[in-house]
């Protein structure tokens, strides 16, 4: 079983990448489980054709944990991908991080975390211990940082690298950095910068997902690109990503950059004014 987690800045395209990755893996005949670990619970929306899933935490709240069965929270989406959404509190109240911990405990108890590949789509940044939990407790064995070439996105990726490095010091922790995925914004010298960033933290750029309008069109049709435009070059990119991730055994403990080093790196790769 391969357990992959995608972390990155909010809005960078983790859910789109996760859903297309899961769809590509599902199409290849593998059993796939995608777990959305974000209170806004929209990770699996495209796989479910826009059908909102009842979230684990919503049901636990309504019925109590004992009243929640596996079939209540796990739904089958495109290409047989099983989909789960953790859910969480409304913005500005409660503790979403604790919600992630509670969700994983419930899924574990119900035996849900079984598949050829499990894809965890985790909230933007490791803002507290709760969001680091999938890494800490050994669920997210292979972490991919999804980033663009924007400085803020690289900041978030570097912060997550810090969390991995810290957690990797613990004897029981199996979490490692598996690579960096560039979800391109179309900036000049963007790939060069992100590749340099990946190398600087002791990892590598495993994929570049180009900016393509088909992604937005697919989302408007509530489909993954894999389903909406299966013959498109973008779908091929996601399929290649799925193959690469399946084969990837190059795992590392990252060496996160200092803020100065990160800014210098970005400056060095800035396009000329």
């Amino acid at each position: 079983m391969k357990q992959i987690a995608l972390y990155g800045k909010g809005g960078i395209g983790k859910s789109t990448t996760s859903a297309n990755l899961s769809a590509a893996l599902g199409e290849s005949g593998r059993s796939v489980l995608q777990v959305g670990c974000d209170p806004k619970h929209d990770s699996t929306r495209m796989l479910m054709h826009g059908e909102p899933l009842p979230t684990v935490l919503e049901l636990v709240r309504e019925r109590g944990a004992a009243g929640v069965a596996l079939e209540d929270v796990v739904r089958c989406g495109y290409a047989g991908v099983r989909c789960v959404e953790a859910g969480g509190p409304e913005p500005g109240i409660g503790c979403a991080g604790r919600g992630i911990i509670a969700t994983f405990q419930l899924l574990e108890e119900r035996g849900a975390l079984e598949a050829d590949v499990i894809v965890y789509d985790v909230l933007g940044d490791v803002v507290c211990g709760g969001f680091a939990m999938p890494m800490r407790e050994g669920y997210a064995e292979e972490v991919y940082l999804v980033t663009s070439g924007e400085l803020m996105s690289l900041y978030a990726a570097n912060n997550i690298a810090k969390a991995i490095a810290r957690l990797a010091e613990r004897p029981r922790c199996r979490c490692r950095l598996a690579g960096v995925i560039l979800n391109a914004k179309g900036m000049e010298r963007e790939e060069e910068l992100v590749r340099a960033f990946a190398q600087a933290i002791g990892s590598r750029l495993v994929a570049t997902i180009p900016r393509d309008r088909v992604v937005q069109l697919a989302e408007l049709h509530r489909r993954t690109v894999i389903e909406y435009a299966p013959d498109s070059p973008q779908a091929a990119v996601y399929r290649r990503l799925a193959d690469d991730l399946l084969r990837n055994t190059d795992l590392s403990i990252p060496q996160p950059l200092t803020q100065d080093a990160l800014e210098s790196l970005a400056f060095a790769h800035a396009p000329p004014f």
Binding site: R61, P89, G94, A102
Partner: protein
């Protein structure tokens, strides 16, 4: 690193010790039931040692994982509804570590409740400060409540407020009684005990205070923020020791603009008579765990010798208040000398 101190405690325990002393009040612990059980158990165990102790009205909203994840404000609102239904004179909402960590806005929830005055005391122990911080936060909250209450008729006499009595102290009432006796030498009495064995309405007398008597100097920052008239005099501590008790009478007299010579003379004579009852201890050698000034003064007055090879005698902490406190202490010393 910190070695836990047996003399300190949790912020919640400090806040609870104050809130539970409002006779018609109800205390609602906004947190896990375990937090509430533990501190209530501590409170009740302590109160059972006190003569005539009254069991306070207590509730908890029993926060669990669901509330931690989704926020505990709804649970607090439900518990407040129930609390209001019990028709207490006031409600104290004491938050806990969990509630503070998840950022529940207890004030906002309390503001939506009508019919019963509510005080909200942030009592998350992880915020630092221990028992005293909780005690002070609760006094502060009740001070704000006192300002909103109608002032009861305090009569013509000056209102003297005792502030911050240590409600878990075994001798708390004995100390208050002694202060009442001392104030009686100046023809005054305790007007309001802020906060001990006082109904909610009685707290409304605080803003009318003509003199504050603080339990200990550490309460000065709290007193600075109480809703009292600017310039209201205060005495920063209950009197401990022979001369300090006389100084207390002089300070009260000066604060209220009256001559205290006769009161001091009468008290000095009372002290002399009290010490005479322990004249048989003269010449004893005693060993003390600490030698604060008031103990040395007492030993001198009784012609006791403080010596490392002397008989060990107790020096309580907090120290005994007034002349009566010293008499009780000497009775304990006599048992071992």
């Amino acid at each position: 690193m910190l070695t836990p101190r047996h003399s300190d405690g949790c912020t919640l325990a400090g806040a609870l010790s104050v809130a539970a002393a409002v006779t018609d009040g109800l205390t609602l612990v906004h947190g896990p039931a375990g937090c509430a059980h533990h501190h209530v158990s501590l409170l009740l165990t302590t109160l059972l040692d006190q003569p005539g102790a009254r069991l306070p009205a207590l509730l908890t909203d029993d926060l669990g994982e669901e509330e931690v994840i989704f926020g505990g404000e709804e649970a607090l609102a439900r518990a407040l509804d129930e609390a209001v239904g019990r028709e207490p004179g006031s409600i104290a909402v004491l938050s806990t570590c969990v509630a503070e960590a998840i950022g529940d806005d207890c004030e906002a929830v309390a503001e939506r409740v009508d019919g019963v005055p509510i005080v909200v005391v942030p009592a998350g122990g992880f915020l630092g400060g221990g028992f005293l911080a909780g005690e002070q936060a609760a006094l502060q909250a009740y001070g704000a409540l006192a300002a909103r209450l109608p002032a009861p008729d305090g009569g013509e006499e000056p209102v003297i407020a005792l502030v911050g009595e240590k409600n878990l102290e075994f001798e708390a009432d004995a100390h208050a009684k002694e202060l009442g006796r001392l104030l009686g030498r100046l023809d005054h009495q305790v007007g309001v005990r802020f906060v001990r064995d006082t109904p909610t309405a009685g707290l409304g007398l605080l803003p009318c205070a003509d003199l504050l008597v603080l339990r200990e100097p550490a309460l000065a920052p709290v007193a600075d923020r109480l809703p009292i008239r600017p310039g209201t005099p205060r005495v920063d501590g209950f009197p401990v020791g022979l001369s300090t008790t006389l100084a207390f009478l002089r300070a009260v007299g000066a604060a209220l603009g009256q001559d205290s010579d006769a009161a001091c003379e009468a008290e000095a004579a009372h002290q002399e008579a009290a010490l005479a009852r322990f004249a048989d201890l003269a010449g004893s050698r005693i060993r003390l765990p600490a030698t604060p000034e008031w103990v040395c003064e007492l030993a001198d007055a009784l012609e006791l010798t403080i010596h490392p090879a002397g008989i060990p005698v107790p020096v309580p902490e907090p120290a005994p208040v007034g002349t009566a406190g010293l008499v009780r202490l000497l009775a304990r010393w006599r048992r071992v000398l």
